[in-house]
Amino acid sequence: MNQLVKMAIRDLGRNRRRSFFSSLALGLGLALMITMAAVIKGEMSGAMDTTIRLQSGHLQIRAKSYEESKTSLKWEDLVENPVEIADQIASLDPVLAASPRLFASGIVSVRDKSTGVRIFGIDPLSEVNAPYRIGLIEGSFVNADDREGVLIGQPLAEKLGVKVGEQINLSINTSDGDVNEQVFIIRGIYSTRTNAFDSLTVFLPIAKAQTITKTENHASTIFVLLKDKNQTDAVISALQSSRYEVLDWINMNDLIIKTEEMANSYMNLFYLIVLGITATVIVNTLIMSVFERTREIGILSAIGMKSRSIMAMFLAETSLLAIGGIVMGVILGLFAVGYLAKVGIYVGNMGLTMLFGNYIYPELTFADALKTTIFAFIITLLAGIYPAVIASRMEPVQAMRGGK
């Protein structure tokens, strides 16, 4: 076996440039695979983190009859005494913060421009709203007792052509099916670096939101953040109620999880295409090598080397090319992922139902790196079987007669 490996190393060394470029082809392919795996992982986990942070939280407590798509404001669809419930939930050890939120839909109009928005009635002091507070880029955050102030996102401000301190007209649906209209002053402009969210969402203090929507002491949901999302099940079991339902971040973000699964399936296809190309390069190299060494194969066969040993010798060469390619691929891939994770990949406004950030920061997991590497090695080895079989089936007489 050692002798076969030694011969394989020396055979590859005969045409160093060709061997190097064959390995490099695999290396580039693997680097691309590693980078793409990290981009998809970063994109999906970024979308999940952003959505949890801005929109879903880890848990939400809602009335069982509440329909999110209708942004219902009927009292029976809402959570009663939300502050009291939120305080109870916040007292649980794994809970980082809990706060009521009231959602409503409305229309913002300024002069001749108007656009549909969703209204978030929030407790400005709660920690769950820190991401919005941190994202404040102009003006100030709304106060809990502010009766005229709103916060709007930067893209919405740009679209409407308004600045901090200017007035906007807000028409908001109410619990009795009417529409209430009021002029508000823009206290601040925020950016969560997530266009889909920022261009649609207007923040009001929850007390004002309850007044204008006529929902009084009600909220659409209790928004809960946990210290560790792995504690989700434990907290759910502590929160069972006959009137309300508890939704966790997995159920609420089912689309992201399904999208990630679908993306992973597409990635497997992508890997196969990339490896198909690199395997073709390696097969080509090895077939050239087999035909250049026809006579040697004949000699080895003549002195008694069995077919399987000849095959093993070529598979050893394939393995060495694969190992070389994998080393190059892993190094190149790690550099690419490291660089992109630092600077981010700008994707702009991609968000639809899911909240993708404006930047993707690739995340490489050990499992993804291992999976792509093993995949690359196996496909390359499988590709090496064909030239190895050609070599092992050569009859010594023909090989020595026809070879070089």
């Binding site: 002798q3 011969m7 020396r10 055979d11 060394g13 005969r14 006579r295 040697e296 000699i299 080895l300 066969s301 003549a302 002195i303 008694g304 080397m305 069995k306 077919s307 040993s309 009859e395 010594p396 007489v397 020595m400």
Partner: protein
């Protein structure tokens, strides 16, 4: 005792619709320790006969026996097993593995028969001395002259102490002094070790070393002459 026996062997090559009959009912027996030349013009069937004796090829009809065993119907791997350890080859071109040194080339058949490292070392050293190439042990074929390469090939052929060594035009690519040295080495090793040598040639300077000369023409043996070598 017979090392090889050929019974009524024919070998037909087919290329497309064209059939070429390389051997036509050849009968031959070669005894242990012989130093025999197969001679004849190109296309007479010398190389084909050597390949059949060497289990590199199979007859179209008839039987080939090596040490009493019929090898005519063996499959590829069985023939490889038979070659390994029983038959040594020396080819017209200097058939060494270019990536291996002289030492490693000689060692290769010993590796294939599973010889231990210490025995391999002992045997290779002994053979390098026998072909007077001890100082070239760690040179690769492209660092050796044609004659030296052919002597490495002789050493490799002898490595596993086979009962039969087949040489196809062993001096064809050598100049006269190197050809002479190769033939003298083969003669000496035949005498010292008793191993049987059968070689194909049409070079009269080589034929004179043989103690038996078998002449082929158009795939049949037309003359089978034994006597003393002329050198």
């Amino acid at each position: 005792m017979e090392v090889t026996k050929i019974e009524n062997v024919t070998r037909i090559f087919r290329v497309g619709d064209v059939e070429t009959q390389a051997l036509r009912g050849v009968n031959l027996s070669i005894e242990n320790g012989e130093f025999t030349a197969l001679v004849g013009p190109s296309g007479s069937g010398k190389t084909t006969l050597l390949q059949l004796i060497g289990c590199l090829d199979q007859p179209t009809s008839g039987n080939v026996y090596i040490n009493g065993k019929d090898v005519s119907k063996l499959n590829r791997n069985q023939r490889a097993d038979m070659r390994r350890g029983t038959i040594g080859f020396i080819f017209q071109f200097f058939a060494l593995i270019p990536t291996l040194t002289a030492y490693e080339n000689i060692e290769m058949p010993l590796l294939l028969v599973g010889e231990s490292a210490s025995k391999r070392k002992e045997r290779v050293t002994e053979l390098l001395e026998a072909v007077e190439l001890t100082d070239r042990a760690h040179h690769r074929p492209d660092q050796l002259s044609g004659g030296q390469q052919q002597r490495v090939a002789i050493a490799r052929a002898l490595a596993t102490r086979p009962s039969l060594i087949l040489a196809d035009e062993p001096t064809a690519n050598l100049d006269t002094p190197n050809g002479k040295q190769v033939m003298e080495t083969m003669t000496r090793l035949n005498r010292e070790t008793g191993v049987t040598f059968v070689f194909a040639t049409h070079d009269p300077r080589v034929i004179q070393y043989a103690r038996r000369v078998i002449t082929l023409r158009d795939g049949v043996i037309i003359e089978n002459h034994s006597g003393e070598a002329q050198v």
